[in-house]
Symmetry: C2
Subunit: 459 residues, 2 copies
């Protein structure tokens, strides 16, 4: 296929996505739920075929692993047949179907004049372009989220799962063809070249959601005018305030580091109040070393550990001096940067300067320190005496997670279905003559602006 | 000044804006209100000097007008001393001060576990870069909005008002220096080169708000990774449904066209249901001609007007055939595109294809047509039997208006103060041991997700 015809094809994909979105505006909430059930049914019917294609993907990936071109962990993520992955994928669609409809919710309503009522009501954004990595079941998860929230979507998975993705995508289209939603509501593409071409089509695509590396997100932000809801990085910190309780400090820091070190909400930097250098810190350090955590320490925290009575055997091997750049690193491993600072205020400034605005926690027994920290740290989640690992859509009660946004507009932090909606205004005149602006103003009618209590639009 | 030192200076401006934002996080709502009152006081004290500078700007502009390089209307907008403009500017600041604080509002709160409460609370976005055109008083308006919502701001006005802007800006800084907000909270810049440099600094600037031409907005979107909340264009339509009431049709269409033709919410295209071609349409056409509106008509609507009994004198002069491209034009003048279409559904498709997603209205007596139109038309405001001119932040009851966003994420349509805030999560463990994630999961604790009724964070 020539480059030119490829661009034309991609424009066609974007156009029919927009058309599918527009034609779906009158599809009811219950019809969307029905579509999700139809997808589950279709996937069940196609199980053998899809898992056979997945096996082909796995075999091709194994060749890459053997040649040293792919990691074993990536291979494992490709496997749709292992454990309860298949059943979880289907259950995920049913879970999304059961969530409350995020659209049609009135968040503001006011009477502008007798018989002139204005409603601000949640609605889908439009056409989403979602780019993600290896796990093929993400196609199904994301299709479910898009359908539930009323958005059309174009999906691009990792190339390693192309065979599986193709069949999953065909099953989704086949299911949609049996519903009141267009079969083109969810489309998948296979190549990076197609993604690049789509990034230019801001007349059709309304939001790009890249889920993957920081580089992927930055690269996309650099190459499109379309808004990007990205998950860039997670450099989370914990500050042990001067009033920190030792047991809380140990539990929270160890959990935040070792529970899942490669997660974006794992802690990467520990800030110790100077006054704790010879009390709380050595015991927290000991607890971390007991879990084989490597500690990159500034001079003060290093010295405090060096003089520890009954030092752990692995102290020499795991405790190392930090460098200035250490505190800008997202380790995503069993490594923790450590620094001592003289005050709450300096800790807040340090986090705002070196952190990524994701999730930061304080361990403290002081109410005022808790308040100051939570307000002063400019991150999407700020916690008191709780592990940074709690920052997650499921744990926050959203049932599912679109991603964790590191942006500062529209949606911030763990994003549930409400991150896939925006709002529109609907207004209706019930007066005999209709409503015109020329009747209002100095010496004429005044706006009433009387709040209306409403949860849905009455027309 | 060399290009290099200029870039360094601009980075300094961006850095101190971010620092000012971060240091302001603990400033209370009442202190912000006090800062707004301090600004009013400072402006009052500086009135003579500021108006003298404004006179210099006007004199320089007059030279440009005389040389044919500037329009008279631009000159008029520069004048801060005319009519009640000065007093309105000060009153605007007091009005913003009196609005409810948009920050600190809890929109979701849930108990994750005994003693572990999560709050989602509105907060400022960060550092705003606002770019706008001639009227110097906009600096004061926007500074007030930024301060009220807790955002630091960098402002760039039109170069024609640089002398006035400089003194307004100095008055704002002098006032802030007497408050608990940093004097660098609001900064102004003077050149496009500075804007270009700032657009690269996404590590410091969180949102760009350009208020001006479609070209300005598009140019900025093309040249930055920073999110842009822009007002691109307003191609608004009105559809006369087959059940349209004649009097409503006449009143609504005429108001939407003539009330303020150069506004973005003025109607640009009239769509007439085929069945009205010889009933409602000729009378609506007559009413528009009586207001000297030029009508660019398709064959059907043109023919229907041509056979009008007692045709108005200006019919020949003002009624002209349209071309296919006519329906993509934002006239912003006393010109209206007109087309006949056979159905509600075709009208909705036409608007979604040719409109700009700003504001569209239907004139109808049918409940179902009203509902179908409001849901099917993918615009930020959809109205029934009301003029498109109602789409405005003040009319919607927001007290003031940041702008009208034509974007589809974060804020859409008329944007009040709530468009300048986002949210963060705050969570506090009250348990004896702190809270860790490792205690939850299969065979362990389960998340409670019990909703908490709260309007503000209790810590």
């Amino acid at each position: 296929m020539s480059a030119e015809s490829s661009i034309v094809d991609v424009e066609h994909i974007a156009k029919i996505a927009k058309a599918a979105f527009e034609s779906s505006q009158l599809v009811s909430s219950s019809d969307r739920v029905e579509a999700l059930h139809a997808i589950v049914k279709e996937l069940k019917a196609g199980r053998a075929e899809i898992l056979a294609a997945n096996k082909e993907d796995l075999e091709a990936a194994q060749v890459e692993v053997d040649a040293g071109n792919m990691s074993k962990s990536l291979l494992a993520r490709l496997d749709l047949g292992s454990g309860d992955k298949w059943d979880s994928m289907l259950q995920g669609v049913l879970d999304v179907a059961a969530l409350p409809d995020p659209t049609g919710i009135v968040t503001y309503a006011t009477e502008l004049d007798d018989g002139l009522d204005l409603y601000k009501v949640s609605c889908p954004i439009g056409v989403l372009l979602l780019i993600f990595e290896a796990r093929p079941e993400v196609i199904v998860n994301i299709a479910a989220l898009a359908i539930k929230s009323g958005n059309a979507a174009i999906l691009k998975g990792g190339k390693e799962s192309n065979r599986t993705a193709k069949l999953l995508s065909e099953a989704i289209s086949a299911a949609l063809a049996k519903t009141s939603l267009p079969s083109t509501y969810i489309q998948t593409i296979q190549t990076r070249a197609e993604v690049s071409s789509l990034l230019a089509l801001d007349q059709y695509i309304d939001l790009v959601i890249p889920r993957g590396s920081k580089e992927l997100v930055k690269n996309i932000q650099h190459n499109t005018r379309i808004p990007v809801m990205g998950h860039a990085d997670g450099l989370c910190s914990i500050f042990l305030d001067e009033s920190a309780d030792l047991e809380k400090a140990k539990r929270v820091v160890v959990d935040a580091k070792i529970n899942y070190p490669s997660a974006c909400n794992a802690v990467e930097t520990l800030i110790v109040h100077d006054s704790l250098l010879h009390t709380v810190w050595p015991e927290v350090g000991r607890a971390l070393l007991a879990e084989n955590v490597e500690l990159l320490c500034d001079a003060a925290t290093l010295n405090a550990l060096s003089s520890l009575p009954n030092p752990p055997e692995n102290l020499q091997a795991l405790v190392k001096p930090s460098e200035p750049s250490t505190y800008d690193i997202e380790h995503i491993s069993l490594t923790l940067s450590v620094i001592a600072l003289p005050s709450l205020q300096s800790a807040i400034s340090f986090i705002n300067q070196h952190g990524s605005g994701h999730t930061d926690a304080i361990v403290t027994e002081s109410d005022s320190a808790a308040t100051t920290f939570c307000r002063g740290v400019d991150s999407s989640s700020t916690f008191v005496n709780a592990s940074t690992r709690f920052a997650d859509g499921f744990r926050y009660g959203y049932g599912t997670e679109v991603g964790i946004s590191t942006g500062r507009i529209h949606a911030r932090g763990p994003v549930g279905l409400e991150g896939l909606v925006i709002y529109k205004y609907m207004m209706r005149s019930k007066s005999q003559a209709g409503h015109i602006v020329g009747e209002f103003g100095t010496g004429k009618k005044e706006y009433k602006h009387k709040r209306i209590e409403a949860t849905s639009v009455p027309f």
